[in-house]
């Protein structure tokens, strides 16, 4: 870092900092989500939990293909919405990708894990209405978590904008793709 002896007065420092923070806040405030962003992500999670639970409970080739189909739908919807966001705003937000779409926020990951676990149990017990309820709860948890993250981001964009590293998200996607391939090959 190259330092300079030129030192602004306290008034100049306050003005330049305020100006910079206003630009930052305006950028965060002006970001617009694509239509049905949260709803489509929530719906894809509902579909993924249902297909995942039913597919695992079937324990046959068709069931494993159902699991993979649910993952493909989720990734397709997530990728389409993220690219729509990027095209619309001219901004790439790592936090939106990891925290909202891939559900690494505490609320989304906790509700998803509980809902998916309960849905698998219910599918083994042939309680299909419980599977449906669990899927809806999982999707709703994702939606609430996403809405909450967007509000948190806008109130403190400097802290929440980047989210987890791209490497971690890529590893997350790759591991589920490998799992899907293994499930299909194994069936």
């Amino acid at each position: 870092m190259e330092t300079s002896p030129a030192r602004p007065t306290p008034e100049e420092a306050a003005a330049v900092l305020r100006d910079a923070e206003e630009s930052r806040d305006r950028l965060a405030e002006d970001l617009v989500l694509p239509p049905y962003f949260h709803a489509s992500i929530g719906a894809s999670i509902v579909a993924q939990i249902v297909t995942g639970a039913v597919g695992i409970a079937r324990q046959d080739g068709a069931g494993m293909r159902l699991v993979v189909l649910g993952l493909v739908v989720f990734y397709a919807v997530g990728a389409a919405q993220l690219f729509a966001f990027r095209r619309r705003n001219g901004v790439w937000l790592g936090g939106l990708m990891s925290r909202v779409v891939f559900g690494t926020a505490t609320l989304a990951s906790t509700v998803y894990a509980l809902a998916f676990g309960a849905a698998v149990w219910a599918a083994f017990a042939d309680l299909w209405w419980v599977v449906a309820i669990c899927a809806v709860v999982g999707g709703a948890g994702y939606v609430v978590s996403g809405v909450r993250w967007m509000r948190t981001y806008r109130s403190d964009p400097a802290r929440h904008g980047r989210g987890e590293s791209l490497l971690m998200v890529v590893l997350l996607v790759l591991s589920s793709v490998v799992l899907g391939v293994l499930l299909v090959i194994g069936s």
């Binding site: 190259e2 300079s4 030129a6 030192r7 900092l17 100006d19 910079a20 930052r24 790439w92 964009p157």
Partner: protein, 95 residues
């Protein structure tokens, strides 16, 4: 307390870096409009800050047309934090 960085002394550069700190990557046109400067002025700032390793720019596309995407580097983020800390210390010195 961090130190003031001479590369961030022009207010437009501090604004540019602060805007980038809230995102992973921003398109050139969005930055230009947010800073209310011309293409050439922004290009000069981006080139100067890229040269010292504070920013990274790459050619890409948006909606099918070619454009430039700009992001903050780890070094840029650290320098920005220190610069803002130094500014806050100056402000606090009279409070």
């Amino acid at each position: 307390m961090g130190e003031l960085d001479r590369h961030l002394q022009p207010p437009a550069r501090l604004k540019l870096m602060t805007m980038l700190a809230t995102t992973s990557e921003v398109e050139f046109v969005v930055l230009r409009d947010g800073l209310d400067v011309s293409d050439s002025v922004l290009s000069k700032h981006v080139a100067a800050l890229s040269e010292v390793g504070y920013l990274r720019s790459r050619k890409g596309t948006r909606g099918g047309r070619r454009t430039t995407w700009v992001s903050l580097t780890g070094k840029g983020r650290k320098v920005l934090t220190e610069h803002v800390g130094a500014l806050r210390a100056i402000i606090a010195s009279v409070e």
